[in-house]
């Protein structure tokens, strides 16, 4: 398999395992996370689409190093795995940084369980 394909899909696994085994922020159970991911995906298509457009690319990809599948427009599909990982890792760390610094649980939700 091409190297970027391996790295990009592997990064999803690493980020998900990081949450499940180590950070345990429960980010994946939050509606706001999934809504954010959908919004980020939409804007990624605009920004990444501009960066990778084949008629005037800012970033060019070596054909042998990725799947060769470009969608939508000219975006290498691996970029969406990359995007998932950078967005999710950022939010996981943001949530983790908050846990333990809250003096009391918010009135609306159950107490945070810090394992």
């Amino acid at each position: 398999m091409p190297e970027y394909t391996v790295a990009a899909t592997g990064s999803i696994l690493v980020v998900v395992l990081l949450e499940l085994l180590l950070l345990r922020t429960r980010l994946f159970t939050k509606a706001s996370y999934w809504i954010t991911l959908a919004i980020v995906w939409f804007f990624q298509i605009l920004v990444d689409g501009w960066l990778t457009k084949l008629d005037a690319p800012i970033v060019t990809y070596t054909r042998e190093q990725f799947s060769g599948i470009r969608f939508p427009w000219d975006i290498p599909i691996e970029d969406f795995a990359f995007g998932f990982s950078i967005a999710t890792l950022t939010l996981l760390l943001w949530e983790k940084a908050a846990i333990g610094r809250r003096p009391t649980a918010s009135p609306r939700s159950a107490p945070e369980r810090v394992e």
Binding site: A7, V40, L51, V59, T62, I86
Partner: protein, 108 residues
């Protein structure tokens, strides 16, 4: 102007998401300590990925649309900007969504 294209794209992302903090009450810039900690970790991890990807020739950068200012390992400063700006925009989106959901709950 061409050589600033990548940097200007990143600046546009910062500008477009600023109202999330100022109007929608995202409170990301207003938690600078937490923001800096998160960004330092994310930037470090993705700069390593980028350095490897550049060395392994996964991708290259247009000389026309970048400044040519390079960090060690041949990383364009535009990439550093990307790894700061994209996480920042993600956090602003997330906290804006959280703020809106909270407002929705309060109204209900």
């Amino acid at each position: 102007m061409d050589r600033y294209q990548y940097l200007l794209l990143m600046a546009a992302c910062v500008a477009i998401t600023l109202p999330l903090e100022l109007v929608l009450g995202a409170r990301v810039y207003r938690r600078p300590r937490r923001l800096v900690i998160v960004l330092l970790i994310v930037v470090a991890i993705f700069l390593v990925w980028d350095a490897i990807a550049i060395a392994r020739d996964h991708w290259q950068y247009s000389e026309r649309f970048t400044t040519g200012w390079l960090l060690p390992f041949g990383i364009p400063i535009e990439e550093l900007a990307f790894f700061l700006v994209i996480p920042l925009c993600t956090l602003l989106t997330y906290e804006a969504v959280n703020a809106l959901l909270r407002k929705g709950h309060e109204r209900a």
